[in-house]
Amino acid sequence: MSTVTTVLGRLLAQAQRHPEAIALRRCDGTSVIRYGQLSSVVNRLAAELDGHGVSRGCRVFVMSDNGPETYVAVLACARLGAIAVLVDRGVPAGAVARFGEITSPSAILLTPGMASTALPSVLRTIPLIAVDFTGDIAQPADVAPAVIQPELTADDPLAMIFTSGTTGEPKAVLLPNRTFFAVSDILAREQLSWISWVAGEATYSPLPASHIGGLWWIVNCLLHGSECVTGGENSTSLAEILNANQIASTCLVPTLLTRLVAEVRAGTALPPLRMIGYGGSRASAADVQFVEAAGIHTAQVFGLSETGCTALCLPTADGSIARIEASAVGRPYPGVEVRLAGGDSAESGTLLIKSPANMLGYWNNPERTAEVLVDGWVDTGDIFEHGADGYFYIKGRSSEMIISGGVNVAPDEVDRIAESVPGVDAAACFEIPDAEFGALIGLAVIPAGELDDAQVRALKHAIAARYRTESEPMARPSTITVVSEIPRTQSGKVIRAALAAAVHG
């Protein structure tokens, strides 16, 4: 386990061990960069930023395409002690402008293929630097102009990402260096293999770098000497990318895990995976069981951007499938403190997390920071039960709780019951305002296949029957509607307000 306190310091130490190994590349084979070239490329880009006056603590927009250039841009900011602000290139210009108002960037790094005209006009006066290391990548490190390396600690900020937020107002989560190695240090110290990395092994991230899961995974993999493969966002087949690139480990959101399983079930060869990490929303136990039956180790990770990605983990183990079916998200890593607050009992309530990976706060937003981060504890806003088996079982988000007839109804639990009915591919509930009860529960269901009217009726009856046996009255849906789509965030979380508007009007 390294004692170096910064991501860049650890990475450059790793690079010296295997300089010829590929650090980053796209899944189409382009933008290859080896560990031994990282220092040179990072220094050169850092020198350009330095030339534009960027220094320690400055914010730098990284217009992310999730490829190698994006991660090099993050490291170049780290070289100066500047803060990389990850902005997905697909975000509408209005939102990018708002991100700019919040963070006041000193420079903008453009990944390949992005024109400056795509930026909102208010940001075009800020220095723009194109990140493109093809062509002159072979230059040794000492050719790059020298820039002063500030002395940084694990608590110094490295990156900022924006949370989608259900309130609509973006929040910039400020993440320190320690976010990106605290958990792997714990696993190494405790000799746990819940999540594991192998130097030289190919790993693939289809997740955006502007998403905590994508950024955390690739940075961790770089720190462990993995061959990090990214890109392929427009590919129609996840399994083909994994097979073609001989990927051994990957991180997925549950919707992508479902896609992978569906592709393999449909006849695509099972990729040579050793491990799949997944999280971001509730996973299908059947999907996890399918890949585990093929000998692939899985690890469900639970956490938020604010907890620096994963704080709890549910790895493959005896009984893990049954726990996933019951909405378990795992146990905390040793050294990650958790407690439940505000619930009906000590075993149920809102989960608070004190992790060495926790965020520093929301940038330029002390009010919201004070609401969420208190004495080092992050209020997840998620309602959990602490099972007798030591695992935590998610019941829903406190902000999403539907109060029906004075009873708190946890939406995730309602969804879970419907999704346990054979013939249901996905289900999500939503709130129907009601003058008498305050709210009633509506349920939207995507069937597993094409159904005629009689089959739809039978499926609805089966779902209702399941609620009669498993659910308290107020949590039973008053209406069940078959839909073709359930609106979700990028990480797979149900957007319940949009669902309610689409189904109920």
């Binding site: 009856h461 209702a464 029957a465 009255p473 107020m474 039973r476 008053s478 069940i480």
Partner: protein, 81 residues
């Protein structure tokens, strides 16, 4: 007339409780609570059957939670129309 009232009650109950007629294990005398009738669904059914919530009718409906009982009440109300 009686049959029309019964059909109306059965259609409403089937729709709100998501059941089929074949689920009425004791025929029209089946206690609807056994098939998931609760306070929420009772209110939904009263609305669907056009029962005046301010009258004493809901109480009468609640006294006999069966298809047969409700059909009788509807007949008394006005022929199940």
């Amino acid at each position: 007339m009686a049959e029309a009232a019964r059909e109306r009650v059965l259609a409403a109950v089937a729709e709100v409780l998501y059941i089929d007629e074949s689920d009425l294990f004791d025929g029209d005398a089946t206690d609807l609570r056994e098939l998931g009738l609760d306070s929420v669904r009772f209110v939904l059914l009263m609305k669907r059957l056009g029962v005046d919530r301010e009258s004493d009718l809901p109480k009468r409906f609640a006294n006999d939670l069966t298809i047969a009982g409700w059909a009788r009440e509807l007949e008394v109300l006005g022929g199940g129309s």
